[in-house]
Subunit: 309 residues, 2 copies
Amino acid sequence: MPTLGIDLGGTNARAAVVDERGQILAAAKMALTERSPAAVVESIAQAAAEAVALAGVKVAGCGVGAAGQIPGDSGVLAVAPNLGWRNVPLGGLLRERLGLPVRLVNDLAAAAWGEFNAGAGRGAQDVYVSFVGSGVGSCIIANGQLVRGAGGVAGELGHTKVIPGGRRCGCGELGCLEAYSGGHNLIALTQELLASGRSSVLNELTAGVAERITPLTLERAAEAGDPGAVEIHARAGKMLGTAIANMVTVLNPARLILGGGVLMNCPGLRRYVVEAVQSQTSNTAREGLLIAEAELGDDSGLIGAALLG
Amino acid sequence: MPTLGIDLGGTNARAAVVDERGQILAAAKMALTERSPAAVVESIAQAAAEAVALAGVKVAGCGVGAAGQIPGDSGVLAVAPNLGWRNVPLGGLLRERLGLPVRLVNDLAAAAWGEFNAGAGRGAQDVYVSFVGSGVGSCIIANGQLVRGAGGVAGELGHTKVIPGGRRCGCGELGCLEAYSGGHNLIALTQELLASGRSSVLNELTAGVAERITPLTLERAAEAGDPGAVEIHARAGKMLGTAIANMVTVLNPARLILGGGVLMNCPGLRRYVVEAVQSQTSNTAREGLLIAEAELGDDSGLIGAALLG
């Protein structure tokens, strides 16, 4: 029987009815106008009702992917920075409201599970998925199972330390990979470079407007040879590449899937990662490894959540 | 019913009859005088027969831990540097000789499985085991299962790159963790320091005899303040510590188990690792983490192999 998948972001709740093979039968979206748990549950329920009505089928259960920390199968969103929540029993609230069994997982785990079952990971049993967007995240699938960790926070590649004691990360710690290679930080570093007045290339690309800067702006400035941009861009790409190559060495997956806005939109950064995996991964782990791009785009989380539901 | 565990090293084959709780009922050992597959199978069979006779019980199956690369459940030792073997179907040969079902796994996986079931990992479902001896290895247990990887080489922490393009490792690649922190390389680096004549402390500790050097010699020279020794020792400890802390961040295990000759015998190096895990692991992964020392010593591999058999 089809199931319901929910992708809960910071601004929207998306719902889809998905069949057993991971095909979306119908989907709907609701903006989160208010962020109290009760209001969010209501928005999710409306999107879900619309998707179910559009699909015209019954659903057997519901999976929810949400950005945040979810210990084990607790159904509790322990920390959700996007929504400003702490310890919200979202799984239980939705179970009551929807009248369906609900499984709550981290959004990256849902997206990885979607790619694993219906996207770039099809047919493999051991997969490592790296998502580089505003943050740097990842998900491990081993022996055909999600690795969620004892506290439900496995996969936090962005908070591995690349320069112990280095640049401060949004998480408060020092020297995290994300502080050098996450999209949010790349934008901040590029804005600092623009503000310094040292980069005429950047000034030209943005007409001096810091708000126009994206990671791709940085990549274009680096490609145009701006020394400051080259430095930030190369450092980001090399650190990301070595970190991902090292995970491939330790996990020995059959497939490495690259996804997330930064890796999908910045071919130069993606090239650093692919080159590092090809040159730095141990010989034995590289044998038989396939590097693939995520295939399902924004739908991976919806599909994966539904397949877990 | 009890099972048979085999630990196949480079110089000995050990066999033990182990009960369901991981207790050794009887054990025996045979030196490997000849290293042809046929001769090694015969030595294993003799040790096994003696252990079974001593225990006076029937065994249901046999697990074998061997140093080398074993793809999946192939039963084939694809590469075994200690024995100079390539593509030896050891599982099948032993099955025929012993008349028992045989499961062949990597020696570190067997040791980690022993610690997980009957040692420092008891009661946890997600465990990361770091073994630092002559090499640097590790084993991941997630969701209560061994993570062996698509090609059977998961866990190779020693071949993650800490300085891309850096010091050449025994594996032929550049900048591997093992090249800076493995026991074999620590001895080589310390011997180079002795040969340089720059270290009077080292000269005193060894009476100038390079062959006396162990990783503990290095640690003693570092503790005595020898600048060259301090540099090698601190670098080894810090690199090891950051690498292990990063694995804890990504895997979010309930327990980190530290084992292997170098970590067990060099408290100074162990201290670097514990401090790095405490200070560099992400806050979320550190919550609820228990750091433990391996409990079963040399028996972990025998016990783990038997419990897999």
